[in-house]
């Protein structure tokens, strides 16, 4: 049984077939890379699954439950979370606050109007623990807007992780980050994900990252899935090589 | 039958003025993504200037002269707009949107009192021109001929604007800037100049609305905010940023208001708000709007 299954998922933007009858699956406890040139439909697929907008046709089944018309809130409750390509944080709150808020929201504690947030020690404990997992504990008190780009990327993932999802979508977690910083970020992310038994689907352009960190690779092109297999299988796949030449890092 | 015709003409009259105000608002938003809360006061400013020109300064002059002076309010509003954009608005494009709203709200308050300061607290009328036009007989009733002038101006303005935006080079530049400011700038468009020109044009339209309406009704304090709220209803229905939307919205509001006056005179404004609320619920971006 797969964790996530999409059936003939379709999304058109005017004449553009952004996602064209896509049957995409994510299994339990796997790290999957979603690759493809710009405009292949990767982000649109993630947007559809995470609930940013509804599909034109098709179904999304998460843990055997139809979430196609579920709200963003509902999907988060079900266990789907995502990070963003362009870092999306609460810049005027501290790193710790960013995570704590996520936990408050996850535990439905944000409904509390007349109790002090600082009084809930358990939430702050857990928030700090999440930061520590991602190596950000030293920056706990700094404003999210003020830490380095690499740290912001990690924080973005940490916020999504703090929702305790079963499936985590990461949209280009290493983009905009220097090559030197990429490996530590991916090491951290994949170790956290694997140790917690979460599945992660990572949109990535950096082929190094893709081949080194994923269990399975799904290649998209012009809205459809071109290939789906292990890194070795994908490496040998002619169609993938032809369409991604020039867009992949030269290796 | 004639009664229906009169209602229709009234609706068109109202729609013409609203189109000018709301169209200006939409144009500015479409190009610059800002909404000037003081926009209604530019309409009021146009009304006051024209009322002063044809009702005060040139009172008693022949109609032809008064007609020539009629657009004075539009030009005055345009000049005011051209002065305001680079000084008060441009510094805030890059800042948080609350500041933009606060500045234009401050501007609204300043203009409101400026009108009182210059022209006093009493209504300013310029009915001479209105009366000189006489009236037509429609069925059993007499209908002011001047109103047809207003409708005419509205139609001409709509056509002119459409031609200007879709058929001229400046229009192309305007549309390009509104769709992608950065790209337009990279292609060599002087965005600052386009902005001030678009803003001036929008203010001209609002001022023109005030100018043509004032012979039929006096310029009063508070007309600016009333106009702002009505223009808002128009763009809610038609969609902010779209001239077709402003046109359609103005027509709908004109018709609904006229229907309201005819059948539910007590709650005329409420009927309008209800119509706007229904549109908002069904199509939050308006009929032609873009988010």
């Amino acid at each position: 049984m797969s964790l996530l299954v999409t059936k003939e998922l379709v999304k058109y933007f005017g004449d553009t077939h952004a996602v064209d009858h896509v049957n995409f699956t994510v299994k339990h406890r796997e790290v999957l890379a979603l690759i493809g040139s710009n405009g292949a439909g990767k982000t649109t697929l993630v947007n559809l699954i995470s609930g940013l907008f509804p599909p034109d046709r098709g179904q999304i089944l998460f843990r055997d439950r139809d979430v196609t018309h579920e709200s963003v809130h509902g999907r988060i409750e079900a266990g789907i979370a995502r990070s963003f390509q362009l870092v999306n944080l609460f810049d005027q709150l501290s790193a710790l606050d960013n995570i704590a808020l996520t936990i408050f929201s996850r535990d439905h504690k944000t409904k509390k109007l007349v109790s002090l947030a600082s009084a809930d020690g358990a939430v702050w404990d857990e928030a700090y623990e999440v930061l520590r997992l991602f190596g950000l504990d030293a920056k706990a008190r700094m404003l999210a807007g003020g830490v380095s780009q690499g740290e912001r990327k990690l924080l973005d993932v940490a916020v999504a992780y703090a929702l305790k999802p079963k499936l985590l979508f990461l949209d280009e977690p290493t983009s905009g980050v220097s090559t030197r910083e990429k490996a530590p970020i991916m090491d951290t992310v994949t170790s956290v994900v694997r140790s917690m038994g979460i599945s992660a689907a990572i949109i990535e352009h950096d082929m190094d990252v893709v081949f080194n960190y994923s269990d399975r690779i799904v290649a998209m092109h012009q809205g459809t899935i071109l290939a789906d297999g292990t890194p070795d299988e994908i490496r040998r796949n002619e169609a993938v090589r032809t369409t991604l030449i020039g867009t992949a890092d030269a290796h | 039958m004639e009664v229906l015709l009169i209602h229709l003409v009234n609706a068109l009259l109202y729609a013409s003025v609203l189109f000018l105000i709301a169209g200006g608002l939409s144009l500015i938003y479409g190009v610059m993504r800002i909404v000037n809360l003081a926009h209604g006061n530019l309409y009021a400013f146009g009304a006051y200037v024209t009322a002063w020109a044809i009702g005060g300064v040139a009172a008693g002059a022949p109609s032809s002269l008064l007609l020539v002076l009629l657009p004075a309010g539009a030009f005055a509003a345009a000049v005011l707009g051209a002065a305001l954009e680079p000084t008060l608005l441009r510094p805030f494009y890059k800042r948080a949107e609350e500041y933009q709203l606060l500045v234009t709200f401050g501007l609204l308050m300043i203009l409101e009192d400026l009108l009182r300061f210059i022209w006093g607290p009493y209504p300013l009328s310029a009915s001479e021109l209105f009366e000189n036009f006489g009236s037509l007989t429609i069925g059993d009733s007499l209908y002011p001929t001047y109103n047809f002038l207003v409708i005419g101006v509205g139609i001409v303005a709509a056509v002119f604007l459409w031609a200007f935006i879709y058929k001229t080079r400046f229009g192309v530049v305007l549309r390009a800037t509104s769709q992608n400011m950065r790209m337009a700038s990279a292609l060599g468009v002087n965005v600052n100049r386009v902005y001030v020109q678009a803003f001036t044009l929008g203010c001209f339209m609002a001022g023109l609305g005030g100018a043509i309406v004032v012979p039929g009704q006096s310029a009063v304090l508070g007309m600016g905010v009333d106009a702002l709220v009505l223009a808002f209803i128009v763009v809610v229905i038609g969609g902010l940023g779209s001239l077709e939307g402003a046109l359609v919205g103005a027509l709908i509001v004109g018709v609904v208001r006229e229907a309201g006056i005819a059948w539910f005179p007590e709650i005329e404004l409420a009927v309008l708000y209800l119509a706007a609320a229904i549109v908002l619920l069904v199509r939050p971006a308006g009929l032609f709007g873009r988010p």
Partner: protein, 337 residues
């Protein structure tokens, strides 16, 4: 550092900031408590007006400073509070302040819920003009139904009895207002300040700030945006409605102009004057503004012009308002010494 220790230190830091707050708040509270004994009656009454406006501004700023929604129609809720009290006097022959407050809260909740339902689906300019438009509708209704509301003449409200009849204004009215009523308002003011402080520092308050900072991400951490904005709107409106209810017995009269957009503009102004990005900003701004208005109105009839020009000047050069600028200067002075 082990996690419980860090969490503990985080709480300690919050408590520390609480201590910091007390360092300012306590002396101010003491001063407020002794005011009627050390200043002339007129000044005490002026301060009462200021405290009432501060409650209203505090409510307004929950929306602006903490949720990022700029309302141009808060005069509506102030007016609802005031008119509910006046109507209770007119039709129910009620004279108890506590009943007035209760009625005002109920009235504010209803109106705010209806207006909020419509308004919070939108943000920024749409939200702003929508709030303006709705308050104008209410204002025009106050005129239209003049047989109920007294039209431009308004409705009179006599001195109420406080604390279920314990304190009645049977003596000199000015004396009553500058002493007994002042303390009544002061207690409610303290309660409102504490309540609002807890709200903005609650998990709910953090969610609001998240929505303000990044609506998309807030949604994607599971915050249902509309609901939170709606509740914030509700709380905001009720605080302002409460202010209106406290205001009308002091003023003795309520007229439609307190529901006009110009009064909304004053609420916006006083909050920006004090600094809308801080908790105390609206309080300081309201009290200062109220004081200034009383003197300025005597000098010029072009009050709107003055307000508008100062508002623009504030936004251009002192966007953090009095409190923000004071904090910045204090930090610089501390660094220098």
């Amino acid at each position: 550092m082990s996690t419980p220790a860090v969490a503990a230190s985080a709480i300690a830091r919050e408590a520390g900031s609480l201590r910091h707050v007390f360092r300012w708040a306590l002396p101010v509270a003491v001063i407020l408590l002794v005011v009627p004994w050390i200043v002339p009656q007129y000044t005490a009454i002026l301060l009462t007006y200021g405290l009432i406006m501060a409650i209203g501004a505090l409510g307004f700023n929950l929306l602006l400073g903490y949720t990022g929604l700029l309302s141009f129609g808060h005069s509506a809720y102030f007016g609802v509070g005031a008119y509910v009290v006046a109507l209770m006097v007119k039709y129910l022959r009620v004279g108890s302040m506590e009943l007035f407050l209760l009625g005002a809260i109920v009235g504010s909740v209803i109106v705010t819920a209806v207006f909020g339902f419509v308004c919070v689906r939108y943000t920024r300019i749409f939200f702003g003009i929508l709030t303006l438009a709705l308050s104008q509708v209410l204002w025009s209704l106050a005129f239209k139904f003049f047989w109920v509301t007294g039209g431009t003449d308004g409705l009179r409200v006599p001195t109420p009895s406080l604390l279920a009849g314990l304190a009645t204004g049977t003596g000199d009215k000015t004396d009553f207002m500058s002493h007994t009523y002042y303390y009544y308002v002061l207690v409610i003011f303290f309660a409102c300040v504490v309540l609002m402080w807890v709200i903005v520092n609650s998990p709910f308050g953090k969610a609001l700030q998240a929505i303000r900072d990044n609506e998309t991400r807030a949604e994607f951490v599971g915050v249902q945006i509309w609901r939170y904005r709606f509740v914030a709107f509700l709380v905001s409106g009720v605080f302002t409605g409460l202010a209106g209810a406290l205001w009308v017995p002091l003023n003795g009269l309520t007229t439609p102009d307190i529901m006009h957009w110009t009064f909304s503009g004053e609420i916006v102004f006083m909050t920006v004057l004090g600094g809308f990005r801080s908790f105390a900003g609206p309080i300081v701004g309201a009290i200062v503004f109220n004081y200034l208005k009383t003197y300025a109105v005597g000098y010029t009839v072009y009050w709107q012009l003055l307000l508008g020009a100062v508002l623009v000047a504030l936004v251009v050069s002192l966007p953090t308002g009095i409190v923000g600028t004071a904090e910045r200067l204090a930090a610089r002075w501390k660094k220098g010494s």
